[in-house]
C-alpha cells in the first residue's frame, strides 16, 4: 500500500521522503526549509518540537495567529502542513482546514511540505470516504495529488499555474 502511494505520488511529480521516525522527519524538514526566509507552519503537523527546531534556524516562521497572516502568506517561501489521512488508490493526501491550520498554507506558497503518518494511510478513496462521511467534516477538506498543474496549453502538462510548483511529502512511521 505504502509503495503504491510513493510510486504514484512520484509519478505525479511529488518529492517523497521516508517513511522515517519523528526525529529524522524533523531533521528532514529543517533541511528542506534551510534556504528560505519566511515559512508558514500549521498546527496539525504531527512532529513534536518542530516549532523549536524551526525557531533555531535563520528562518521566520509565520504563525496562523499572526493578524497579518493572510497578507504575509503571499510572501512565504513554503507552507508546512499535516494531513488528515491519505489513500493509496488513487494516490491523494487529504488536508483539513481547522483553527490553527488554515487552507492557504498548502495553496499559496510555491512549496508545500506535507507530513503524513503512515498509520493514516487507507487503501482506496471509497474506504476513506466511508470514514470521512461518518465523522465530523471540516469546513474544507482538500485532496492533493501533486503540484498545481494545467493541461490548457495544447494539452501538455505545465506545473505551478496557481498553487505550489513543488510538493514535498514527508512520511512518518
Amino acid at each position: 500500500m505504502i509503495d503504491t502511494l510513493i510510486a504514484t505520488l512520484r509519478e505525479n511529480t511529488c518529492r517523497v521522503s521516508g517513511p522515517m521516525g519523528v526525529d529524522a522527519a524533523r531533521t528532514a524538514i529543517v533541511a528542506l526549509v534551510a534556504g528560505h526566509a519566511l515559512v508558514a507552519c500549521n498546527d496539525d503537523v504531527p512532529i513534536p518540537g518542530l516549532a523549536d527546531a524551526l525557531a533555531r534556524l535563520p528562518v521566520e516562521v509565520l504563525d496562523p495567529r499572526d493578524p497579518q497572516w493572510p497578507v504575509r502568506l503571499a510572501d512565504a517561501d513554503a507552507g508546512i502542513t499535516g494531513a488528515l489521512l491519505a489513500v493509496a488508490e488513487p494516490a491523494a493526501i487529504a488536508v483539513a482546514a481547522a483553527p490553527g491550520s488554515p487552507r492557504g498554507t498548502s495553496l499559496v506558497p510555491p512549496v508545500h511540505i506535507c507530513v503524513l503518518r503512515v498509520a493514516d494511510l487507507v487503501p482506496t478513496l471509497a474506504d476513506a470516504m466511508q470514514t470521512i462521511a461518518a465523522g465530523d467534516l471540516p469546513s474544507a477538506l482538500t485532496w492533493i495529488g501533486g503540484p498545481s498543474r494545467t493541461g490548457d496549453l495544447e494539452m501538455i502538462t505545465t506545473l505551478g499555474v496557481h498553487g505550489p510548483r513543488t510538493v514535498e511529502v514527508v512520511l512518518v512511521s
Binding site: 503571499a74 491523494a92 487552507r103 498545481s148 493541461g151 494539452m155
Partner: protein
C-alpha cells in the same frame, strides 16, 4: 445562441459551421492535441469496468427522487450555515447573484471554470452590472481575453495553438511573451494571483453536492477553485439541480470515474470538499457561502425518455470520442454545451428554441454511448430528438414522406416500375431536388440496358 460572444467558427447553421471548421487549418492543427487526451483517458477509464454500473445506478437513484434529494441537500446545507437560493430560469439565477454582489458592494469577482455559469451567461450579467468578472482557469482566462466562449468543457482553449495563446496573453500583458509554456504560465500565475487577492467574491460551479452531509465537491487541477473558495470573503456556488448525489460516500466511486473519463487522471490534482463557510477561529475561507440551485427546464425532463440526460457528470468523454466533435471543435455548435451531450442538452434546455439542427450533425456511430461513464444512451437520444424537436427539416421530412408514398405506389405495378426506371436512365441518376443528398453520396448509376430487357432478348 447569440449572447454577445464572438463566434469563432462562422456560419448560419450547424452544417455551414462544420464546413468552415473543417476548412480552418489552424483549428485542425490545434484539434490534433485531443489525441493526447483520448489515449490516456481510454486506458485509465478501462481500469475499473464495474464502476460504470455502480455510478450509473447512483445517478439513476438520484433522478428517481430528485426533488426529495434536493430538499434533503437544502436542509443539510442550511444546517451548516449555507444560504440556499432556488432559481428556475437563468435570468433568476443571474438576478440572485448580481443582487448578492451589489448588496455586498462587490467590484471584482473571481470565477473558477464552470459550465453552469456559462449556461446562465453570468459573466456578461456581472459586467453589465459594473462588476469585473475574471475567469481564473488558465484555459478559460485565455478564452475570456480572446472574447470567445470555451470550445471544450474540460480544456476550454483546445481550439487554440500555443502561438495563438501567446498572442492573446501578450496583448493583455502589454509586453512581448515567448511562445513558451513555462513563461506563459508564470505570467498568468502572477497576473491572476493579484486578482485572487483583490476579489470580493469567488464564484464556482459544483461537481457533486452530497445530500446527507451538505458537502460541495469541487474538482480542479490548477488550484484556482481552491483560491476562489479560500481568499474572497464570499463564495457563491452555482449548482444545476442534477448535481446532487445522495451520500458523500458515493464520491468514492463518482470522483475517480469523473476524472478518469475527463482527463485520464486516476484523480484530479485537487478535490475540495466544502462543508459550510469558515468556522470560528479559522483564519481563511469565506464568511458567507451561498449555493444557487439552477433548474432551467431540467425538471421538465423528469419522467420523460430524456430523463437520463440529467445523469451527465460533464466529463467530456463523449466529446473526445465523437468523430464530428474531433473534426469541428466546440464553436461549430454555437451553444454552451457541445459534442454529443450538447446535441442532446441544447435543444432540451431551450425547449427546442436552440440547437434544433444539432441532432442532425451526427454519424449515429454511438461512440458517445459507449464512452459515457454513467451509461446515458446518447446515440438513441440524438436519433429520437430528430423526431421530437421541430426544426427547418420538418418541411423536408414532409416532402420525403410524399416522395416515398409516390414511389411506393409507382413501384407496385410493372408499368409504373418500367416508367420510373426509364426516367432514371434518361436522367443518368441526376435527380432534381436531391443535390444536397448527392453532393456527399453516390447515387447508384442505372445500367445502360436493364436486366429486364436483356432477359427478354435472350429468352425470345
Amino acid at each position: 445562441m447569440s449572447d454577445g460572444h464572438a463566434i469563432a467558427t462562422p456560419g448560419d447553421d450547424f452544417h455551414e459551421r462544420t464546413a468552415n471548421a473543417v476548412a480552418n487549418p489552424v483549428l485542425q492543427k490545434a484539434l490534433h492535441n485531443l489525441d493526447r487526451r483520448l489515449r490516456t483517458a481510454a486506458t485509465s477509464a478501462a481500469a475499473h469496468p464495474d464502476w460504470k454500473e455502480r455510478a450509473a445506478a447512483i445517478r439513476r437513484e438520484t433522478l428517481h427522487d430528485l426533488d426529495g434529494w434536493l430538499d434533503r441537500l437544502e436542509q443539510s446545507l442550511t444546517a451548516r450555515g449555507v444560504q440556499v437560493h432556488r432559481a428556475s430560469t437563468p435570468a433568476d439565477a443571474r438576478r440572485i447573484i448580481v443582487d448578492l454582489a451589489r448588496a455586498r458592494g462587490a467590484r471584482t469577482v473571481v470565477k473558477s471554470k464552470s459550465m453552469a455559469t456559462e449556461e446562465i451567461d453570468l459573466g456578461n450579467a456581472l459586467e453589465a452590472a459594473g462588476i469585473t468578472s475574471v475567469e481564473t482557469d488558465l484555459g478559460e482566462y485565455i478564452v475570456q481575453l480572446a472574447g470567445e466562449r470555451p470550445s471544450h468543457m474540460i480544456t476550454p482553449a483546445i481550439h487554440k495553438t500555443l502561438p495563438q495563446i501567446r498572442d492573446v496573453l501578450a496583448r493583455e500583458a502589454g509586453t512581448d511573451l515567448a511562445v513558451d509554456r513555462e513563461e506563459l504560465t508564470l505570467w498568468a500565475r502572477g497576473r491572476l494571483r493579484g486578482e485572487f487577492l483583490r476579489a470580493d467574491i469567488g464564484i464556482t460551479g459544483v461537481n457533486f453536492a452530497a445530500a446527507d452531509t451538505g458537502t460541495l465537491v469541487l474538482v480542479t487541477n490548477e488550484g484556482n477553485g481552491r483560491f476562489c473558495t479560500t481568499v474572497p470573503r464570499v463564495h457563491i456556488a452555482v449548482m444545476p439541480i442534477e448535481k446532487v448525489i445522495p451520500r458523500l460516500a458515493d464520491v468514492g466511486i463518482m470522483l475517480p470515474l469523473l476524472t478518469s473519463h475527463a482527463t485520464g487522471q486516476a484523480l484530479s490534482n485537487y478535490v475540495t470538499m466544502i462543508s459550510g463557510p469558515r468556522r470560528a477561529g479559522e483564519v481563511d475561507g469565506p464568511d458567507e457561502l451561498h449555493v444557487v440551485f439552477v433548474d432551467n427546464r431540467r425538471r421538465t425532463l423528469l419522467g420523460t425518455k430524456y430523463e437520463e440526460m440529467l445523469a451527465c457528470i460533464r466529463c467530456g468523454a463523449c466529446l473526445n470520442v465523437c468523430p464530428v466533435y474531433r473534426n469541428v471543435s466546440g464553436h461549430a455548435y454555437d451553444a454552451v454545451y457541445s459534442g454529443p451531450m450538447g446535441k442532446v442538452l441544447t435543444p432540451l434546455l431551450s425547449g427546442g428554441a436552440e440547437g434544433a439542427d444539432l441532432p442532425y450533425g451526427s454519424t449515429l456511430c454511438h461512440a458517445c454511448t459507449d464512452a459515457c461513464p454513467v451509461k446515458i444512451p446518447l446515440g438513441d437520444m440524438i436519433l429520437s430528438l430528430r423526431a421530437d424537436v421541430p426544426d427547418a427539416r420538418t418541411a423536408l421530412r414532409r416532402r420525403r414522406r410524399v416522395f416515398w408514398s409516390v414511389w411506393a405506389r409507382a413501384w407496385s405495378t410493372p408499368r409504373g416500375y418500367r416508367l420510373t426506371t426509364a426516367l432514371g436512365r434518361v436522367s443518368r441518376g441526376r435527380v432534381p431536388g436531391l443535390r444536397a443528398w448527392t453532393s456527399s453520396r453516390e447515387l447508384p448509376r442505372p445500367a445502360r440496358e436493364p436486366f429486364r430487357d436483356r432477359w427478354a432478348k435472350e429468352h425470345r
